[in-house]
Symmetry: C2
Subunit: 145 residues, 2 copies
């Protein structure tokens, strides 16, 4: 079942430009074949791989790292430890990202809650603003440098 670049674009969510770009960057596991007149032909596996790529990308893995991974896979058996290490490494980075975001979220929530409370009490004008840098209700103070 052959797929055109347009179909792959629709189903993968990546633009046709991006697909050509990914190919140029060596991000496809298998070389993309062409029809007699030069049009790209994709298959279901490509979509599966692209879905993986998209997950890796949207969790912050760079195209360079994905390329490294694909290159290892292309070399065939013998470097599975490296590939696994690459995945584990990224796993840890994602965990770290989540922890950091969670921390940011706590701060943002705290600030927003303080705001909400003051607004609800109609004392919004007691909130921090530049002309009252000493305001007690300075919710920015929540974040200690």
């Amino acid at each position: 079942m052959d797929l055109s670049i347009g179909e792959v674009s629709k189903r993968s969510g990546l633009s046709v430009h991006a697909l050509r770009f990914y190919e140029k960057e060596g991000l496809f596991a298998n070389p993309v074949r062409r029809t007699a007149n030069g049009r790209r032909i994709y298959h279901e596996e490509d979509l599966e791989w692209l879905a993986s790529c998209t997950k890796l990308r949207s969790s912050g893995m760079s195209l360079a790292a994905i390329r490294r991974y694909v290159e290892l896979a292309r070399q065939g058996a013998g470097n599975e430890h490296e590939r696994l290490a690459l995945l584990r490494d990224h796993e840890q980075q994602v965990e770290a990202q989540i922890r950091e975001l969670q921390e940011c979220l706590d701060v943002i929530r705290y600030k927003a809650d303080v705001y909400a409370e003051y607004v609800a009490r109609g004392q919004a004008d007691e909130l921090w603003n530049p002309s009252r840098p000493d305001a007690e209700a300075d919710c920015h103070r929540a974040v200690r440098p």
Copy 2:
């Protein structure tokens, strides 16, 4: 207690370049004062505000959004609802980010676990590689398009 740009850089973790850039972009709540000969003077509040900024930035808020927030604050009382809305909006975005990352993490873990299992069993060569696109142990299939 006056602080030089160098001290603020050290304590905030932002480069002196970034500090000047932030100022040019209107990200400081209070206008940055200068000594007689033109050097910037900062205060503790600036550090506090920068710490907030850093949290917002590292949770993905754009400088443009931060500027909008600061502009509201500079206008003084009367727009607290807008400021609160801005914070709540970002809060939701961070929550969404965390959810997405968590989803990616699940996929990555699954893939890595499959890999690890095969490697442990010494059957690494049964794993997906480009020359065996039909390999049953294709851990990429974990991610359905």
